[in-house]
């Protein structure tokens, strides 16, 4: 990060070096990336890949999400010069990810649909059970309305906190909070109807 800080500082993009260990603000990274700095874009990737993955996972098959993750960042890189307000990078990137997922559904051919239950995991019975449980749960989350499933996936799959989701996606805290609580309530109802948690416990 110190090297990145030096790079950003040399570009005259921020007033001074970020403190050792402190994160460069999004604005500085975006502006450096707009000038062609791959290191800065790499830092943005590290910062936002979980958000993009979560948004994709809420909309497309699991294995496809990994594929599209790269696409979204490459698309963002090619369009970065059009982003005028560097502080809104997160919301802008989230919109690209949502659009990319929609494009996938428009373009995908039936023969190319992934088998969602296919897994490369070759663990023992416990591992298989965990994967099966996970797929079942993932399917349950993805059956929720869009806003809820995206927020719940960011929270439970990607391990982001509510404030972090708000900061990264550009949504208001209140909206994220509502999505989390209502989504969780709906998920509970769905799972209880299916007796999932009780059975698994």
């Amino acid at each position: 990060m110190a090297a990145l800080g030096r790079m950003v500082d040399r570009a005259g993009l921020i007033g001074g070096l970020p403190r050792e260990g402190a994160e460069a603000p999004d604005e500085a990274l975006v502006r450096a990336a707009q000038c062609g700095d791959r290191g800065a874009f790499g830092a943005l990737y590290q910062r936002y890949s979980r958000m993009v993955h979560g948004i994709l996972l809420a909309r497309v098959p699991r294995l496809v999400a990994e594929d599209l993750l790269q696409d979204v960042f490459l698309q963002a890189l090619s369009r970065l010069s059009s982003l005028r307000d560097a502080g809104k990078f997160g919301g802008w990137l989230a919109a690209i990810a949502r659009n990319r997922a929609n494009d996938y559904h428009r373009q995908a051919k039936p023969a190319e649909e992934w088998n969602e239950n296919a897994t490369e995991t070759d663990g023992g019975r416990a591992g298989r059970d965990n994967v099966t449980d996970g797929l079942f749960l993932l399917e349950a989350v993805r059956s929720l309305p869009e806003a809820y499933r995206e927020t719940l996936i960011l929270r439970f799959v990607e391990g982001m906190t509510g404030p972090e989701i708000a900061e990264r996606t550009g949504l208001k805290h209140g909206s994220v909070r509502v999505n989390l609580y209502r989504g969780m309530q709906m998920l509970r109802e769905k799972l209880q109807r299916g007796s999932f948690l009780a059975e698994r416990k």
């Binding site: 040399r10 005259g12 707009q34 000038c35 874009f41 890949s49 490459l74 439970f156 906190t161 969780m184």
Partner: protein, 358 residues
């Protein structure tokens, strides 16, 4: 407290939520960062100009032009004498060795010179230089290069790379910066690329950001970021491809573009291209459509639609008869750049470039 755990992980952990975290957490993103071209030293130099960095330039220019306009307007009211015509030059800075501008060598650290229209910048085997492209970008000229300034108008900047390598970082509107080579004309449609011209007039273009059009006698190739394209005298620009495509794919493209293959050899090369093509290589297949013969074209089309869904508004028949609007729809579906920009350049600028070159 339970609700706080859902919101920010604080408070007493909720067993149910922890189970969700554990079970769903196995699907967390663990993909590697995409492979991007390395940061170039040349771009570092651009950035090190600080205030004159790409993103600030438009604002700086806007303010400067506004201020200049006010001053010039006020002055014009009082001073009506005609001013001497300006002959703008581009600033050349020595990076290494002693590059030559016109007939004068640019020696010493921080030495500078001005490149005028018609003059050439020549670097020997030990020298390198940077060139300020008016207000719209910067060029870096590698050793062993000869670059000539042909035009520097308000809407078009044009150079010829006679031999050698340049790295261009351009932040002008698409189509404003044009580079002639002996076998093709490169039109900047985006941001950054490298172009090498060999003594025999052949060339290689690699795009690092945005996209670049390669044009010769109505023969067009579009090269998006991460892709490259070869060009040869007589044949002109070849078929572009992503640099991460397979070797077999690239070799077969070269064979189709530049080698005198026919019959079974040609069919073998085409089959290799089609079998090796990945989803993202459809843009290469799109370029092949007008370049293969009528008997081969359905094979290319079939492979394209096996990899991606045909865009709305296109048909098999229309695409096979090379309907221009349908081909444009195909290109725009790749999301590599709006072909409308190119069509605009083609109609408005290409004839002027051709006339100026002719």
């Amino acid at each position: 407290m339970k609700n706080d755990y859902l919101w920010d992980g604080s408070g007493v952990p909720d067993a149910e939520l922890q189970k969700l975290e554990k079970t769903l957490g196995q699907f967390r993103c663990n993909a590697e960062a995409p492979t991007l071209p390395a940061v170039d030293r040349q771009l570092d130099v651009v950035r090190s100009r600080g205030f004159f960095s790409a993103w600030r330039m438009p604002r700086f220019l806007a303010v400067s032009f506004l201020a200049a306009g006010v001053v010039a307007g006020a002055a014009g009211l009082f001073l009506r004498a005609p001013s001497a015509p300006m002959v703008p030059g581009w600033d050349v800075a020595q990076i290494e060795g002693a590059p030559v501008v016109g007939s004068a060598a640019v020696r010493g650290e921080n030495a500078k010179a001005s490149l005028k229209v018609g003059e050439a910048l020549v670097t020997d085997g030990n020298s390198r230089a940077s060139v300020q492209v008016a207000e719209i970008g910067e060029l870096f000229v590698d050793p062993g290069s000869r670059v000539r300034l042909l035009e520097t108008g308000s809407n078009r900047k044009r150079i010829a790379v006679e031999v050698g390598t340049i790295h261009a970082a351009i932040w002008a509107p698409p189509g404003e910066f044009v580079v002639d080579t002996p076998s093709a004309t490169a039109v900047d449609l985006g941001c950054a690329y490298s172009l090498t011209v060999a003594e025999d007039g052949s060339g290689t273009l690699r795009t690092r950001l945005g996209w670049v059009g390669f044009h010769q006698n109505g023969h067009d190739s579009f090269i998006p970021a991460g892709a490259m394209c070869l060009t040869k005298p007589v044949q002109g620009p070849g078929t572009p491809y992503f640099e991460d495509s397979t070797e077999k794919f690239r070799d077969a493209i070269h064979a189709l573009d530049f080698e005198d293959v026919d019959g079974s050899e040609r069919e073998k090369a085409l089959r290799a291209v089609l079998s090796q093509a990945r989803r993202r290589d459809v843009f290469t297949l799109w370029h092949l459509l007008p370049r293969v013969n009528e008997a081969e074209r359905p094979m290319v089309y079939d492979r394209m639609v096996a990899l991606v869904r045909a865009p709305v508004g296109t048909t098999r028949e229309g695409t096979l008869r090379l309907d221009a609007a349908m081909l444009d729809r195909w290109w725009n579906s790749f999301d590599l750049g709006d072909i409308g920009i190119w069509r605009f350049w083609e109609q408005n600028e290409a004839p002027r470039v051709k006339k100026a070159a002719g």
